[in-house]
Amino acid sequence: MLNPNDSDRAEIASDGSAAEFAAHYREAYKKLTCIAAGVLGHFEDAEDMVQQAVSIALDKGERFQTGSHFVAWLCTAVRHCALNHRRKMTGRKTVAADPVVMSTMLDESSRGQPLERVTQGKGELLPDQQSFDDRVIRALQTLTPDSRSCLLLRIVENMSYVDIAALMQIPEGTAMSHVHRGKKKLRELLHPSRERQGGEA
């Protein structure tokens, strides 16, 4: 695992060792994508966001200072870029049809007669079957961007709190707090009793 505290890696960029940089960038890529997804609140656009942020960061390469950690620097660029994108998207007047948004739009009582049920040949669309993933995504929206990023780095990338803290440039305790509180909130929102009551996360 890439250790953001490893100071010699800060010099990767200036060494001019393209192969070494490429290897480390590959290793960091998924973590950066997790951070982007955490800020955005969904996985769509996360990879595009990383590629865009890294491109912008390298175009403005003079802002990187020798001695600071290169991947953490990229992480900051990704966070800023994703935050800008998120602000831009939330400011739009157009309406997306993502499940997260739809859940707040659909007023069951105003929909009139339900649409005619169709029989699904291979059993992929079972009547009354709810998607747990949809509820998890909805529940994720209640967390802060930093909490989501820490949570995804911990659960999806299996990173230690030392590494998360170094990458996100926050204290280790704060990283742990983000993860623990985030997990607890998700469990509360996705508790089976809420599911039985038809409660939305």
Binding site: S14, L58, G61, A97, V136
Partner: protein
């Protein structure tokens, strides 16, 4: 139990609360002895089992949804090339003088003011968002395959399936009874012809197939081309119900679109 929580957000040198202990256990940060004691203490508490089961389910869901592909060779090569062109270690010192800095600040304030006026006043009737770029449907198909062919939205409910198309394309589409060999995986919103293009991912006789649906007014056939280098990929165009359907697959005939029909309300 004697462990102390390392979290700076919690008070130092205080015994962990039950909640903190539970989180520490679920997070795998407890040592073996504390872990054994904790499990022993939880025996006969059904809520603990629910927490365990829930956390496992949530973790699996997150890992499934957020399993990103590795960086492509092209992207890494591009980044490496950019890096080589512009050494990052160069720290450019600011040479801007104070009067120029003040002028720059004043210009920024003026620019922000004009932007706000443009947005809310003069520019209120501006055309639709100009940031969208159409994409070749074959590229989107290749991208979906490369990422494991997972839909963004599994869409287990047929009412919501119809609502997606009703909201995005203005027609509440549903799937008829699918014949043997065709399986619908879910929906994605990857763009394509317009920002609102909806893609349906299917498995047809074991092969990956995608149907891109959009309003007929958004149709751009030039983005439904198969390059000469791409063999064994076919795009079938169908127009019905004021919608355009592009089915991208390895089959030389359309297999899915005929099963997509407007819902009867």
């Amino acid at each position: 139990m004697s462990e102390r929580h390392r979290n700076e957000d919690f008070a130092h040198d205080q015994p962990m609360t039950d909640d903190q202990r539970l989180e520490s256990f679920l997070d795998g940060t407890m040592n073996e002895q504390d872990r054994a004691e904790f499990i022993e203490a939880q025996k006969g508490r059904p809520e603990f089992d629910i927490h365990m089961e829930q956390q496992t389910r949530i973790d699996e869901s997150l890992r499934r949804m957020f399993s990103f592909a590795d960086a492509s060779n092209e992207h890494v090569a591009e980044v490496t090339r950019k890096l080589a062109q512009r050494p990052l270690a160069e720290v450019r010192r600011s040479t801007i003088s104070m009067p120029i800095a003040i002028l720059a600040f004043a210009a920024s304030v003026a620019f922000v003011g004009i932007s706000i006026w443009w947005y809310f006043g003069f520019g209120a009737d501006r055309p639709a968002d100009p940031f969208f770029q159409p994409t070749q449907l074959v590229s989107l198909y290749d991208d979906a395959v490369r990422r494991g062919f997972k839909p963004y939205y599994e869409c287990k409910d047929d009412d919501r399936f119809a609502e997606v198309f009703a909201n995005r394309q203005g027609v509440p589409l549903v799937l008829e009874d699918l014949p043997e060999g065709i399986r619908m995986l879910g929906l994605s919103y990857p763009g394509g012809l317009s920002r609102e293009t909806t893609a349906m991912l299917c498995i047809v006789d074991g092969e990956q197939a995608m149907v891109f649906v959009d309003r007929l007014s958004a149709d751009q056939p030039e983005f439904a081309q198969v390059g000469p280098a791409r063999e064994k990929i076919f795009i079938h165009r169908t127009v019905k119900h004021d919608l355009v359907f592009y089915e991208v697959s390895h089959f030389d005939t359309s297999r899915i679109v005929k099963h997509m029909v407007p819902a009867k309300r």
